[in-house]
């Protein structure tokens, strides 16, 4: 059947479902703001794509409901004995959705595909020097240095079938033009694609021969992207969809106030923070201090941190749904530094004292750059922060803009202070140290999101050791040291952990995972 025919029959199917009004209650219709750009698991490293495709494809390991790593296509893994790297023992009797058997050759092929220049996920394999197929169900990933976190870091590395990809001319991810894997799938996961109309509707059905026990009762899942938040809310309240992720904070009471609906709240792993232009020689947007950059002085950065009143921001802007952050990952993430849990308290008087000590008793003005469509209430947050800064004499000239040209501006050093949200892709503290705290180093691909180029020789020295240390206690003490240094330096001002707000009909049971991924295999329609 062609893709168009499939689509028509799916439309007919859903039309019938609609007429039957709940007779086939196992159809789940859900919406989110962004359509996955592609069905190719290696082409785009973005949350909408990875979240969606985790229902179809699987990795060697996967994350459980609490984000812990558990066996998936690999049943076990252990460090190699005579060299650096890991040996994965693969699950037997796994079949792809087209019926082909899963073997180590498929893992090898997927590795080559995902680490190719055309793949957007290739950074995951930067530490890998060689991959060897030992036998049909054993494969070795050799790394250049000891890498205790490697299995955790490839939870989203999805395996596709070698023969399927090669026979359909999809041996490499599509980068410029589409290929077969852009619109078609063949994974080992619990669901498979039954129709796809990009940007309009995508339908999934269970993969009957899935190796794991299906705990869900979904017989068909229909996904619709709805970009407009009000439309999404209306679609939920009118009963046309069963579940939506996310909903805006201000709509929570609307949903809670109605019978038959519920709001699911959690903490995302994303920490919102302010960053500084550590390396800038002068302020760009100041009207009074133009020849120097006060933010190079840790006292000034500390003053700025003491000026922020998180409790008020929480109460006024977030209805009490945020958790104040003290480091670049929230508590509960591996590597979180228990010994550094204090954050600069809200203390405007101390802030003024610190500014005076640094030589700015009357404060100064500077430019604060923020997004207005990237994080929850980002613009409102920055307005609030600007007035809090102003109260201690730091007059922030606020500029907000859409995220689509925000990163370019930051990369061009066009800021004095900026807003950033960071979710650790590997769910380990090493991730923000690598991207946000290590000095910018394009050669080694480190510090690529450290826009202000915070640089500390000891932190740079610690990072490779943290990456390679096998002993958890020794590793943690190095992380603790790095966190302590960066807190002392006020490299960033961590503000809070962003809340995660989904809404669903009462009869839908689902799991809200901290990475904002929606897994159909945990859904029950009652």
């Amino acid at each position: 059947m062609t893709y168009r025919n499939l689509r028509r029959s799916a439309l007919l199917g859903s039309a019938l479902t609609f007429c039957a009004m709940g007779a086939t209650a196992e159809t789940l219709r859900w919406a989110s703001t962004t359509d996955p750009q592609t069905m190719d698991p290696h082409a785009v490293n973005s949350a909408p794509v990875l979240s969606f495709l985790n229902n179809i494809y699987e990795g060697l390991v996967r994350r459980g409901q609490d984000m812990s790593i558990e066996p998936s296509l690999a049943t076990s893994w252990e460090p190699l004995s005579d060299e650096n790297g890991w040996r994965f023992t693969l699950r037997q009797d796994v079949t792809f959705q087209d019926g082909a058997a899963f073997t180590a050759e498929d893992v090898m092929f997927s590795y080559q595909r995902a680490s190719d220049e055309a793949a957007d996920v290739r950074s995951w394999f930067a530490p890998v020097s060689e991959v060897r197929v030992v036998d049909d169900y054993t494969i070795d990933f050799v790394t250049t240095a000891p890498n205790p976190l490697f299995p955790d870091s490839i939870a989203n590395f999805m395996i596709l079938d070698k023969d399927w990809a090669e026979s359909n001319d999809a041996a490499l991810p599509a980068r410029d033009a589409e290929n077969y894997a852009t619109m078609n799938v063949n994974g080992t996961g619990p669901f498979t694609l039954s129709s796809r109309d990009p940007g309009v509707r995508t339908t999934l059905v269970p993969h009957e021969a899935w190796w794991d026990d299906a705990s869900h009762n979904v017989t068909e899942a229909v996904f619709t992207p709805i970009g407009n938040a009000a439309t999404g809310l209306a679609a939920l309240l009118s009963g046309e969809i069963d579940f939506i992720q996310p909903i805006p904070l201000q709509d929570v009471s609307q949903v809670e106030g109605r019978d038959g609906f519920k709001v699911l709240e959690g903490e995302e792993t994303r920490v919102i923070m302010f960053g500084f232009g550590h390396e800038h020689e002068a302020l760009l947007y100041s009207s009074d201090v133009t020849d120097t950059n006060p933010f190079t002085d840790p006292l000034v950065r500390r003053a700025a941190a003491h000026a922020i009143d998180i409790a008020s921001i929480n109460r006024v802007l977030f209805r009490g749904k945020i958790e104040a952050a003290n480091q670049l990952v929230p508590a509960g993430i591996s590597g979180y530094s228990e010994t550094n849990q204090n954050r600069p308290a809200y203390d405007p008087d101390l802030a003024k004292e610190l500014l005076a000590e640094a030589g700015y008793p009357d404060g100064f003005s500077f430019g604060l750059k923020c997004t207005n469509d990237r994080y929850i209430n980002d613009e409102a947050l920055c307005r609030a922060a600007a007035s809090m800064f102003a109260a201690v004499g730091l007059n922030a000239e606020l500029t907000t803009g859409p995220v689509r040209d925000y990163w370019t501006q930051l990369r061009e050093d066009d800021f004095d202070m900026y807003l950033l949200g960071w979710s650790p892709g590997t769910f380990d503290m090493e991730h923000p140290i690598r991207f946000l705290l290590h000095s910018q180093d394009d050669e080694k691909k480190l510090g690529s999101w450290n826009f202000g180029n915070y640089s500390n020789a000891r932190v740079d020295e610690l990072l490779p050791q943290i990456q390679q240390e096998i002993d958890p206690t020794a590793r943690q003490s190095m992380i603790d040291e790095a966190v302590a240094i960066t807190q002392e330096d006020v490299a960033y001002i961590p503000l809070y952990t962003q809340p995660l707000i989904w809404a669903a009909k009462d009869n839908i049971d689902l799991t809200q995972r901290a990475d904002n991924f929606f897994m159909l295999r945990w859904v029950t329609v009652n």
Binding site: S46, G227, A234, D405, K445
Partner: protein
């Protein structure tokens, strides 16, 4: 006549080129496509390589030349966001937008013209004042507010109509139509009304003004004096003369309806070209934005041409010139 049409079509090529040029010179300010195409973990070097491969480092004139050159050869390129062929993406979205626009236009004409005639013939009636007041409110509220209000009243509170999407569609060749199923019409109603409200008000006021003007003209007075039946007088003689300027304005507006259905499409998640354009802006999908704007320019030119032809059909005076 053939020469006239040909001339206009050749003109349209220049219009489209001009639009493409303007659009292209603005794209640089929309944002950076590369950061939208790659994940956070993608290294700066890989980003640069992609930028180089896509030709984004080339001078503006070179990029523009490549775009127009490919277009003239019928190659519309591939989307940065989905990697699909742009021609196919736009082609699958055109039916939704056209159907929405046409139905909105029909609603505005079917309601607007009779209402205009009615209010012109009874200028002081209470019903007339009520209609005029209502439409004034309709035209002052922004489209998205009307859309959201309709959704919450008819979709959420009353539950009569769907709140988003196209409902049931039927595939006829390459044209995906919602005009052949009840579900399709149910889904079409609210967005079409939302999109048509402004048109409706405009049509009604225009018809009313023109009609009142015509009713005061000499030939109507003479016809009245001669005892031509009022019904025939109103609907044959007066209305026909009223329609000439009305058709021009409505026709020209229709281009705008198609082009600016973006807001309505976004509010109703209506999968037309406008929604595609909006998504493309978010991802800085330059190929799609470029082609969309050129297609819209072509629509405008086409609509203007049709208006000119209709003019000739309605007004006999123009036909005489054409014969010579």
């Amino acid at each position: 006549m053939v020469y006239f049409i040909l001339k206009r079509l050749i003109q349209s090529v220049f219009v489209m080129l001009a639009v493409a040029f303007l659009a292209f010179s603005l794209f640089r300010f929309v944002g950076d496509p590369i950061t939208q195409m790659t994940g956070v973990e993608t290294s700066v070097a890989d980003q640069e390589r992609l930028r180089e491969d896509l030709g984004l480092n080339d001078p503006f004139i070179l990029q523009f030349g490549r775009f127009t050159g490919d277009m003239l050869q019928g190659d519309f390129g591939f989307s940065y966001r989905t990697r699909q062929p742009v021609a196919e993406m736009i082609a699958t979205r055109i039916p939704a937008t056209i159907e929405l626009g046409v139905v909105a236009l029909l609603i505005s004409l079917l309601v607007g013209v009779p209402a205009g005639v009615f209010t012109a013939l009874r200028p002081r009636g209470i019903a007339t004042q009520a209609i005029l007041m209502t439409t004034l409110v309709g035209v002052s509220i922004p489209t998205f507010v009307i859309g959201i209000m309709l959704i919450f009243i008819f979709g959420v509170q009353l539950g009569w109509l769907p709140t988003f999407g196209r409902g049931g569609t039927v595939q006829i060749g390459n044209w995906e139509s919602s005009l052949f199923t009840i579900e399709g019409w149910r889904a079409l109603l609210l967005p079409a009304i939302t999109l048509g409200v402004y048109q409706l008000t405009l049509t009604m006021r225009l018809v009313r003004a023109e009609m009142m003007e015509v009713m005061r003209s000499d030939y109507i007075r003479f016809a009245m004096a001669r005892g031509v039946p009022m019904r025939k007088l109103h609907y044959k003689h007066a209305l026909a003369n009223t329609m000439v300027p009305v058709i021009t304005i409505i026709g020209l507006q229709f281009g705008g309806v198609i082009a600016f259905s973006i807001v309505t499409e976004s509010v109703f998640q209506w999968p037309g070209m406008g929604l595609l354009f909006l998504e493309s802006i978010r991802f800085v999908d330059i190929p799609v934005m470029g082609v969309y704007l050129v297609v819209i320019a072509f629509f405008f030119v086409l609509v203007n041409l049709i208006v000119d032809l209709l003019y000739v059909a309605i007004d006999p005076r123009l036909r005489v010139k054409d014969v010579s």
